[in-house]
Amino acid sequence: MDNSIPQNAGYLIAAYILVPTILIAYAVSLYRRSLRP
């Protein structure tokens, strides 16, 4: 029986980069909209 832990760190890295990217993009969008007259 194979007891090794699955090697799938790439998916974790992708998700952990994607989340702050979406949050920062939205924060920038809100900031830019707040500057509009």
Binding site: A15, I22, L23, A27
Partner: protein, 221 residues
């Protein structure tokens, strides 16, 4: 300090705290034996999902109270909460497939939980389109409130869908009548991450509310 500036500071604080959650999740929370490191996507996927539910429940409450009280502040809060909820729903719908691929072997399946969550995202997008399409302020607020109430009904369905239909998606392990079925270290990381997402939600809503208030003041002098 204006409400928008306070919101901006909250978002910056939330993003720094998210970095802290990453450190805790990666270095101080055990690796799940069967799923490997991909299981740690749980610490962003679940808090984003619960915050989406929270955003839509608050949208629904503001919508119901608006229909009774006709207070424009409630309409502006509903508008802000719907937009922020849509952003968190986007996080749920992107991190979910990234987690699902290594565990289920597929990015997506058209089951009740996933399909209804996608439908919620489109409903929240439709809410924004509706607000842009109706020019009369009072009509816009009324129509939006009805759609906001529909969204909160859908959230109830999404939460119960894993009990009602056969699905690949696991049943709730924290938000359920019995005790959370999660080791203490994992639960603490999850709770901390949820706290960070709530801080981000509040910060975003404050900024979006300020934009809606300024727009209303510009329109009505």
């Amino acid at each position: 300090m204006t409400i928008a500036q306070k919101g901006r500071w909250l978002v910056v604080t939330g993003l720094v705290m998210l970095g802290g959650v990453y450190v805790r999740a990666l270095a101080f929370t055990p690796v799940e034996r069967f799923q490997g490191l991909a299981q740690k996507i749980f610490y962003v996927h679940v808090p984003a999902a619960v915050t989406t539910e929270l955003a839509v429940i608050l949208l629904g409450l503001a919508s119901v109270f608006y229909l009774f009280l006709r207070d424009p502040r409630l309409d502006r809060f509903a508008e802000a909460s719907a937009e922020v909820g849509m952003v968190f729903a986007a996080i749920v719908l992107t991190t979910g497939p990234i987690w699902g691929k290594p565990i289920w072997g597929t990015w997506w399946t058209w089951d009740a939980r996933l399909t209804s969550t996608l439908f919620l995202f489109f409903l929240l997008a439709g809410y924004q389109v509706l607000r842009g399409a109706v020019t009369d302020g009072s009509l816009r607020a009324r129509y939006s409130a009805v759609l906001g109430i529909c969204a909160v009904v859908l959230v109830g369905f999404i939460h119960l869908s894993v009990y009602l239909f056969p699905t690949l998606h696991p049943q709730p392990i924290v938000l359920k009548p019995s005790k959370p079925s999660l080791p203490a270290e994992m639960l603490l990381t999850l709770v901390l991450s949820f706290g960070v997402f709530v801080v981000l939600y509040i910060g975003f809503v404050m900024q979006r509310y300020a934009i809606a208030t300024r727009r209303a003041e510009t329109l009505h002098g």
